[in-house]
């Protein structure tokens, strides 16, 4: 379990990277840590690992500050930057020194190499690794101490689709084993597939802290699309139910009734129905809406704020 209390980090006098945040990362589920670039995700993760000292507030891992336990790698495994490896050192030697530093038996090195699929290139110099192989080596390092808490900063960066799927399954399995899994990303679509719980951060503040389902209900509006040749009658009927109905182009958008109820109503009146679809906003869109004001660097043209991406909830 990771717990942050009034955690704050300032750089210099006027830049607040993390602004008094409180959150708890519970075991047994994948918690996604979402935020645009510069939101404070990496700074928060560095503070969890005792690399950056908080300006005020505190963060604990398993009830104590990082480093207070006997062997930190056995308590918390972390992937921070994939290519933070000496380019001339082999993957195995990188893991060997890490294992030695925490009194982890050297046999574990081969186990984690096999786990991430790097066993065949273990003696190759890490400088020759692709970004994806670097990510896998970083994940192997995180798992070296078989830790109950795992932190992965942007773990799918640079991975091919197969690698992304692997990380996703891997994270889910770690959570299923009862571990605390904390994964940062700016890729909403990836979080939607991986996380059970979401913590959204923007400009150093927590914008949302809820389950994935709750988050969708609260922040991603959905509606039922109705296409019918008898628009006027259908609209009258549905408006009579006390719900919000908007006519857009040749369709009706119904908010507040589920699709089957809409179908029953129209059918009961004998109205012809050409299409009946539940349209859900994607996590991407929900996130954009939530952090619209918190993004540090905007691209001003063509931001797809109003584009509704259909049916991409889960």
């Amino acid at each position: 379990m990771i717990r942050a209390q009034a955690l704050t980090k300032r750089f210099g006098a006027d830049q607040i990277a993390v602004d008094g945040i409180d959150f708890t990362v519970e075991p047994g589920r994948v918690t996604g840590f979402l935020g645009p670039n510069g939101a404070g995700k990496s700074t928060t993760m560095r503070m969890i690992l005792g690399l950056d000292a908080p300006t005020s507030g505190r963060v604990t891992v398993n009830g104590h500050p990082y480093g207070a336990g006997p062997a930190p790698l056995r308590e918390i495994g972390a992937l921070l930057e994939a290519h933070a490896i000496h380019p001339g050192r082999s993957a195995r030697n990188h893991l060997r020194w890490l294992a030695a530093s925490n009194g982890i038996p050297v046999g574990r090195v081969d186990e984690v190499l096999d786990m991430v699929g790097l066993d065949s290139v273990a003696t190759r110099r890490a400088g020759k690794f692709s970004l994806g192989m670097g990510q896998r080596l970083g994940i192997a390092a995180a798992m070296l101490g078989d830790p109950p808490v795992v932190i992965l900063d942007e773990p799918v960066n640079g991975l091919d689709p197969e690698g992304i799927r692997w990380v996703r399954e891997f994270a889910k399995q770690l959570a299923a084993e009862g571990r605390t899994v904390f994964i940062s990303s700016h890729l909403m679509s990836e979080m939607a597939l991986m996380a059970d719980h979401l913590i959204v951060i923007g400009r150093g503040r927590i914008l949302a802290d809820s389950s994935m389902g709750e988050f969708m209900r609260e922040h991603a509006s959905s509606y039922v699309r109705v296409k019918t040749p008898t628009v006027a009658e259908a609209k009258g009927l549905l408006t009579g139910q006390g719900v919000e109905v908007n006519a857009v182009d040749d369709e009706l958008r119904v908010v507040g009734l589920d699709a089957s109820r809409v179908g029953d109503l129209l059918c009961g009146r004998g109205l012809v129905l050409h299409e009946l679809t539940l349209v859900s906003a994607s996590l991407e869109e929900a996130f954009m809406a939530l952090t619209a004001d918190a993004v540090e660097y905007h691209a001003h043209a063509g931001r797809p704020r109003d584009a509704v991406l259909e049916g991409a909830v889960r």
């Binding site: 005792g50 950056d52 006997p70 056995r74 020194w97 530093s101 925490n102």
Partner: protein
Amino acid sequence: MSTAIAATATLPAVDRSPGFGAVLRAEWIKLISVRSTWWTLLLTFVLGAGLTILMCWGNAEWLASPEADESPGSFITWGMMIAQICAVILGALVVTTEYGTGMVRTSFAAVPARGKVLLAKAVLVGGVMLVLGTATALVGYYGGNYFLDREGIGLALEGDVLRAMYGSGLFLAGIALFTLGLGFVLRHTAGTISISLALMLILGNLVMIIPGEVGEWLTKLMPGNAGSAIAAPVPFNPMLLDPWPGLAVFAAETLVVLLLAWVLVRRRDA
């Protein structure tokens, strides 16, 4: 690759910290698992012993002649003046490549007591340079003295000559430690190497230009100068401090740099 990771049972539980021995072992694996270490050590040996032999071979006849105004004792560890460049490079690389790649964050996450990381690096680099420097000086002595002997001006391996052998080891160890400390302060490879070399080789000679007693004392106290007397039976520069007082000054200066590094490495964000 298997997704089946399975909570592994191969790890025995620990109830106490693995301690300094574990950090030392980790740093040792780091040190010997990159090629740059081996190249630097090889170069230390080749330059340190090779140049000494070369200089003795080239100057033996002159040193034995009446025109000679230098002592054979100044030539018998000549290569060490150049080998110190390798000590600078090793001392820097051991620290600054970690900062350059960002690996230092992995190091400090694995060993949150950062002072231990600094200490382990210092013990290993200092130890390696002490042993290698002494061995290099001995090989240079045996090779160089062969040519001096042929001219009848050979030196016995005793007294100041013997002291210059392990003195060379102490000198290289000191140079490497000084630079290692500087590396933690500056966190940048090129900056660390150039500032250290400038202090040892350029500034050390430049201050001699300053007139009067100020220049004389600055010359005596510059780290490269103060530490170098221990490495030669007869220093080229007669102004230098005596070997042991010189080494004491150099050791104190190195300690100051290491202490500054220790304070900064614990206080700064990684």
